[in-house]
């Protein structure tokens, strides 16, 4: 079953340019049901055998699509998400990076009381091994299983998934929630979904410096989580006041350090790996009790 991306998920692609087409093809190859593309003004054409529509609502009505992956360039990305939320899609994955924060604040406001789960922006997407993927993640490193993975980063998610796979721990769903300050789904939101998912037995949480998302996740774990959690926090060596690539990864006013986050997670009973190379073996140790 896993979370968010499941067997019933039918995907449309907003932004079927070069990048969108490349990834749509990869998504189809691993079995994802990609059923529609959105190209305003080009309805009736098809790309890679995928029928194109003018609007999200048209695509939904004609194909039954209930999810969207967005590759639209940053100046137009917020509009694309709003359209998807308006059409009441269940799941929207926003890959685009470089979206202005004030645009995302408006998107986040529209998400409230909507029927949509938004993943991203500035994220690698989501994969449910064996079912499909909505994103740019390399399929080969994932195997089906019962460990959920939540991470702000792209390649670090791959690193951790590969470590889990190497020690024989398969994944229920892996979510890259994105590296921006304002994102659709937080660590806490994803933890709650995994906690309620009968097919997830444990969760690997990969955080990084900046903000308080990991501290909020730690509170949730302490009060509600019934499954073991392993974690790693990137950025112990990051200097204050410098943006470490991700717009969200910045230690501001002495807050958001790796040390604070690790401490909060440990206090909530999480097995925190100090080394990013030890997440796989830490998970294995927990599973073997």
């Amino acid at each position: 079953m896993a979370i968010l991306l499941k067997e019933h998920t039918k995907v449309m692609v907003q932004g079927l340019g070069k990048e969108g087409q490349f990834h749509a093809e990869k998504m189809l190859e691993c079995g994802t049901k990609v059923v529609a593309g959105i190209r305003p003004g080009k309805a009736g054409q098809d790309v890679l055998g995928i029928p194109c529509f003018n609007t999200v609502a048209d695509a939904k009505a004609a194909t039954g699509a209930n999810a969207s992956i967005i590759f639209v360039p940053s100046p137009f990305a917020a509009d694309a998400v709003m359209e998807a939320i308006d059409a009441e899609l269940e799941l929207v994955v926003l890959i685009t990076e470089g979206i202005p924060t004030l645009d995302m604040i408006k998107v986040k406001n529209k998400l409230k009381n909507s029927k949509t789960n938004l993943i991203g922006p500035n994220c690698p997407g989501i994969i449910t091994p064996g079912i499909g993927k909505m994103g740019i993640l390399p399929v080969s490193i994932f195997i089906p299983g019962k460990c959920g993975v939540i991470s702000r980063s792209g390649t670090l998610t791959y690193e951790v998934a590969a470590q889990l796979t190497a020690v024989g721990i398969g994944q229920s769903t892996c979510i890259g929630i994105g590296g921006d300050p304002v994102i659709g789904t937080s660590h806490r939101d994803a933890l709650e979904m995994f906690n309620n998912d009968p097919d997830t037995d444990m969760v690997a949480l990969i955080g990084e410096i900046g903000g308080t998302d990991e501290e909020i996740a730690a509170e949730y774990i302490k009060d509600h989580m019934t499954k073991p959690v392993v974690a790693f926090i990137a950025g112990s060596t990051a200097p204050k006041g410098k943006r470490m690539g991700h717009a969200g990864a910045i230690i501001a006013g002495g807050k958001g350090t790796a040390a604070e986050k690790k401490e909060a997670l440990r206090a909530a009973g999480v097995a925190v790996a100090d080394s990013p190379a030890d997440v796989g073996i830490t998970a294995k140790r927990i599973l073997e009790g």
Partner: protein, 391 residues
């Protein structure tokens, strides 16, 4: 993106936020001219991208023209060290000279992005002119916090509430409400990520005014704020970081010996952490991006090589959509093009086409150290950088 105080005040003035009459100068003599034209007393302020300037001796109240002239001479060209500059300090190349205000009361006003609520928040306090972090930690009851609904913007009742809580009255109250509304308009129209007035003052004449101004812009909004590019002062930035930004590389200079080249910000941070755990220090943060193109790799390499502290380079690539063989070709080509690369290079390739990539590295005839796994790579690089055997 950071800008100078004088630039922030120019923007404030455009949005109707009262600021002291002033002028940015790059010549010491212009301070005297300003004093003579406008009259004193004046305040001479160092313009650098860091706070804490007053404590560091970068701000001088000058009641006479002689004092102003001396202050300008002292501050211009000084290396100002504050708690935000680091021990190396920053060279002062510009001054702001302003007419001194008659201060009745000082307070704090800031607009920030609140990540927890995903809203713009107003932070205000009756405690002005001091570090707001300190006020928040020691006397949290003195912090006023209001969140703005993005659908409707800052409502007048919210601006009034803040000003009542700041204890403003009469013309200062009216001016304060207007200042808040104008500051919010500036924040949203200019895509700011932070706007801080510390101190905001009420003058003895009853006017609410921004005595200081700090504004940061959202780098992601550059496409619709093209005029912000003119406000950038690259002399305030690290030269290698400026060079890297020309090639869209995410590079931050640090103090260690291991030069890092990694794809992805999270993995790049994790690589730095692991190097430290292995007993060395990273020389930089460098994310070559998801595509890790041959050109990007070559430019990244040149930047790493121009950092004389680098004693070893660690290339850590996790191939996803980008193929490791393509990256390997880029690395080999870059080193051949640059020539004379004398520092040892540790390469770790994982993920898509990693095997093919390693073959290219091994058959290149160049002297690479290949690593098996993340931990091995970091250990080898740390050992080589520190001159330890066994690598």
């Amino acid at each position: 993106m950071k800008i100078h105080e004088y630039q922030a005040k120019e923007i404030f003035a455009r949005y109707g936020i009262p600021v002291p009459e002033g002028q940015m100068v790059t010549e010491v003599g212009d301070v005297k001219r300003f004093f003579e034209e406008k009259g004193g007393p004046v305040v001479v302020k160092a313009q650098i991208h860091a706070g804490g300037r007053g404590k560091g001796g970068g701000v001088k109240f000058s009641p006479t023209v002689e004092v102003a002239e001396q202050a300008a001479k002292d501050i211009m060209g000084m290396t100002l060290v504050t708690h935000q500059t680091g021990p190396e300090g920053k060279l002062v190349q510009r001054l702001l000279v302003e007419k001194a205000a008659n201060i009745e009361t000082e307070m704090y006003l800031g607009f920030v992005m609140d990540r927890e609520t995903s809203r713009v928040a107003i932070i205000a306090s009756t405690e002005g002119g001091v570090e707001i972090e300190k006020v928040a930690a020691e006397t949290p009851e003195k912090i006023i916090k209001i969140w703005i609904d993005p659908a409707v913007g800052l409502m007048p009742f919210q601006a009034r509430e803040v000003c009542f809580k700041l204890g403003l009255e009469g013309t200062a109250f009216k001016g304060g409400v207007k200042m808040l509304q104008n500051l919010y308009r500036m924040f949203t129209e200019e895509d700011a990520s932070m706007a801080e007035i510390n101190p905001m003052i009420v003058t003895k004449e009853g006017e609410a005014m921004a005595l200081d101004a700090k504004v940061n812009f959202d780098d992601n909004a550059g496409f619709r704020q093209k005029h912000h590019a003119e406000l950038r002062d690259i002399s305030e930035e690290d030269p290698l970081e400026v060079e890297a930004s020309k090639f869209d590389l995410n590079y931050i200079k640090l103090d260690g010996k291991v030069g890092c080249m990694v794809n992805g910000a999270g993995l790049a941070m994790a690589t730095m952490d692991l190097i430290k755990q292995c007993g060395s220090e990273p020389a930089n943060f460098l994310d070559v991006g998801g595509s890790a193109s041959a050109e990007g790799v070559e430019n990244a390499f040149r930047i790493l090589m121009s950092d004389k502290d680098v004693k070893c380079v660690l290339i850590n690539i996790f191939g996803g959509i980008v193929r490791c063989d393509k990256v390997a070709n880029g690395v080999v080509e870059a080193i051949r093009n640059i020539g004379n690369v004398e520092v040892p290079i540790v390469v770790r390739l994982e993920g898509t086409n990693a095997k093919e990539g390693l073959e290219i590295i091994n058959n290149s005839g160049l002297n690479f150290h290949t690593a098996q796994g993340f931990a091995d790579a970091a250990k080898k690089a740390a050992d080589l950088a520190e001159g330890r055997g066994g690598a």
